[in-house]
């Protein structure tokens, strides 16, 4: 069993499934971050950056079992 925890930063977290955020999710096998989002029907274009256990990664990165994934959504200019 593959377990990761996904959190989302920024106002666009409203477009992610609230019940999944911050909770451990279990999948049958390791997979890229992009595939987790696809399973939630979330557009990868909402992702500005990905961090895995605090280290910058990418949508195609595969988090290790037990890792925490942070999705940073885009800020609104300035």
């Amino acid at each position: 069993m593959y377990r990761v925890r996904v959190n989302v930063s920024g106002h666009a977290r409203e477009y992610f499934p609230a019940e999944r955020l911050g909770a451990w999710i279990e999948l049958s096998e390791p997979c890229p971050v992009a595939r987790i989002l696809a399973g939630w029907s979330v557009s990868p274009e909402l992702v500005m950056a990905v961090f895995i256990d605090g280290v910058k990664a990418g949508l195609e990165s595969v988090a290790p079992n037990g890792a925490e994934i942070l999705i940073v959504t885009p800020p609104a200019g300035g």
Partner: protein
């Protein structure tokens, strides 16, 4: 009904200064303003609507500059350093406002005032000095002609380091219609040309020192909740990751979805964006972070930019400057963008409009609509000396600069030759950093923003992405929602970045409001205030600008007729028919008629009976 003196969160007084006569008077803050308009932007809108009549010359003595704090300004909670400025805009002729971070509104409240209104015009340069209850209009000739940062430095030296300063640069002095107000060595109220209104009054600077405390309804409760709010910020996912690059961190994303202004919005993808993004800022020029009062997520990036001409310390560049001076003028070096940012800051030019105007001029030059003789030298995209040359000419109103100092709309009217098709503005205010041909909600946001083309009223581009960029359904609903939520922060006097950048929950503001003010209001009550203010600013502009309505709620022809030529948004545009459908639905949701005019019923429902009489008789 509360009055100003008894409500927590308010100093309870309005200060009026006649800058021509040198006199000032203090008035009680009306309780009705607190109830119906809350503060900040709400006060600005109410005062301008009531006191600046249609027909007023934006650069004449009858225009007024209003500076207002909100009830949450300067109190113990994240991001409470926001101040709102407003005036009839010389850029659009309609309602104009702009907010600024830093320390001004807390100081104004501690000096005893929620609102400062500058009236009249001086014959010679002056500075307005507010030192607690002592108000004076002093000769300011020795500061006139100085750059913003240079003048702020001199004023702090002469008056005292503990004064907070708002200042204009040469662009404001010379009535450039996109001149800004500067504060804290690199923060600006950039939009709608209020710096030029100060310049028309010969006011070089406003200096404020306050030593009073801000009254609070429940100081102990606020202390505890404030601590919780900070802790909530610090514990938000993304807090640590967002801060290093600030707003510049969005540069990659905007390019990768095809929304980055490039070559005067000819396209929406800048191939060299990784040379000017947040990572380059951090690696190449960043020195330290700089935040406003009470900010846990400092977006200011204090930098040292080095180019062939010299080097300069600058606060920035933030995203909008990267987009409009970087991508739109095709500068592919973060040092160049930072240096051009510094030049604008000293001259007192809004970097958004300045970049947009320079890019417009370069496209006119490429197309042969401006000649070398007219410009005074060759100019080209991607060439820093061209950009700096244009900025300096504009601020001085010399040669080509005088033609461009009115902004792209006015310049296109003079240049002709079809240039109005690629003068990228709405209602005379230059477009900002999001090319929106593949983002209908964002396009509608720009078309209907109450001050002209501006992103901060409704930043809806993530909604476009989330719900389908080609779809029109649901877009007007989201734009209306955001146009009430986002400007509400400007009424409250707090920064919205805690919410939009790290997802700080809106419920906190509903909880903190009664602890500060003693008034229990729901978030829906506050949104109702924001809707009232939105209708008031719309009515102001309708009364002041003939044709302000459907015909002006539209993007430039380029966006409706030219598909994006390359990049991730290649082939996309929003047609005139689609735009019309978006507007139909938007007006219906707002309770406006088909020409974008608030109906009598809507205005009366919002308690704006006097406005209904003005619009409908």
């Amino acid at each position: 009904m509360n009055d100003g003196a008894s409500a927590g969160g308010y100093a309870g007084q309005v200060l009026r200064v006649d800058v021509g006569g040198g006199s000032s008077r203090t008035e009680r803050l009306p309780g009705e303003w607190i109830e119906k308009y809350v503060g900040g932007r709400g006060f600005v809108a109410k005062i301008l609507y009531d006191e600046v009549p249609p027909g007023t010359d934006p650069l004449g003595p009858l225009n007024k500059v209003v500076m207002a704090a909100g009830p949450l300004s300067g109190v113990f909670l994240p991001g409470s350093g926001k101040t709102h400025f407003g005036a009839k805009s010389p850029a659009t002729g309609g309602y104009g406002d702009s907010n600024i971070g830093g320390h001004l509104s807390p100081e104004l409240k501690m000096a005893g005032y929620d609102v400062l209104i500058l009236e009249g015009a001086a014959a010679d340069p002056v500075i307005v000095v507010i030192d607690d209850g002592k108000v004076s209009v002093r000769p300011g000739g020795e500061y006139w002609g100085k750059g913003c940062i240079e003048a702020e430095t001199a004023l702090k030296r002469d008056l005292g380091e503990d004064f907070e300063i708002a200042v204009i640069g040469p662009a404001g002095e010379n009535l450039v219609r996109f001149a800004c107000i500067s504060h804290d060595f690199g923060r600006q109220a950039g939009r709608t040309g209020i710096g030029a209104v100060l310049g028309s009054k010969k006011v070089k600077a406003i200096a404020i020192r306050g030593t009073h405390t801000i009254p609070l309804a429940d100081p102990e409760g606020l202390r505890e909740l404030g601590k919780s709010m900070y802790r909530a910020c610090f514990s938000k996912p993304g807090f640590r990751e967002w801060t290093p690059n600030g707003t510049a961190g969005v540069t990659d994303w905007v390019n990768e979805i095809g929304a980055f202004p490039t070559r005067n919005f000819q396209t929406s993808y800048f191939p060299e964006y990784k040379k000017i993004n947040g990572d380059r800022l951090r690696a190449d020029i960043h020195l330290t972070d700089k935040g406003c009062m009470g900010c846990p997520i400092p977006c200011g990036k204090y930098s040292l930019a080095k180019v062939a001409e010299g080097q300069a310390h600058v606060e920035g560049p933030e995203y909008e400057t990267i987009a409009m001076i970087g991508g739109d003028c095709c500068l592919a070096d973060i040092n160049e963008v930072g240096y051009a940012n510094y030049v604008c800051d000293e001259l007192g030019l809004d970097t958004i409009s300045a970049g947009n105007v320079a890019a417009f001029a370069m496209e006119c030059y490429e197309r042969g609509l401006l000649t070398e003789e007219q410009v005074g030298r060759p100019i080209a995209f991607g060439d820093l000396p061209s950009v700096l040359y244009l900025f300096r000419k504009i601020a001085a109103r010399e040669g080509i600069g005088d033609l461009l100092a009115g902004g792209v709309k006015a310049a296109a009217e003079k240049i002709g030759g079809g240039s109005e098709r690629f003068a990228i503005h709405v209602k005379g205010l230059e477009w900002t950093g999001y090319e929106s041909r593949y983002a209908p909600a964002m396009m509608l946001s720009y078309a209907t923003a109450d001050i002209g083309a501006h992103h901060n009223r409704s930043w809806a581009i993530t909604f476009d992405v989330a719900r389908g960029r080609g779809k029109m359904e649901g877009k007007p609903e989201k734009v209306v929602e955001l146009q009430h939520v986002r400007p509400l922060f400007d009424c409250l006097g707090v920064c919205r970045l805690q919410w939009v950048e790290i997802g700080f929950d809106l419920e906190w503001y509903e909880r903190v409001f009664p602890l500060v003010t003693g008034r229990k209001v729901s978030w829906d009550d506050l949104l109702r205030v924001s809707e009232r203010v939105w209708n008031l600013t719309r009515a102001f502009s309708i009364r002041h600008v003939p044709g302000w309505g459907r015909a002006m709620d539209r993007p430039p022809a380029r966006f409706l007729e030219e598909p994006v030529p390359d990049g991730p948004a290649k082939g996309h545009l929003i047609t005139a028919d689609q735009m019309s459908e978006l507007l139909d639905n938007y007006y219906a949701l707002r309770g406006w008629d088909n020409n974008g005019r608030p109906t009598r019923g809507k205005l009366e429902e919002l308690g704006l009976d006097d406005v209904a009489k003005h619009l409908w008789g």
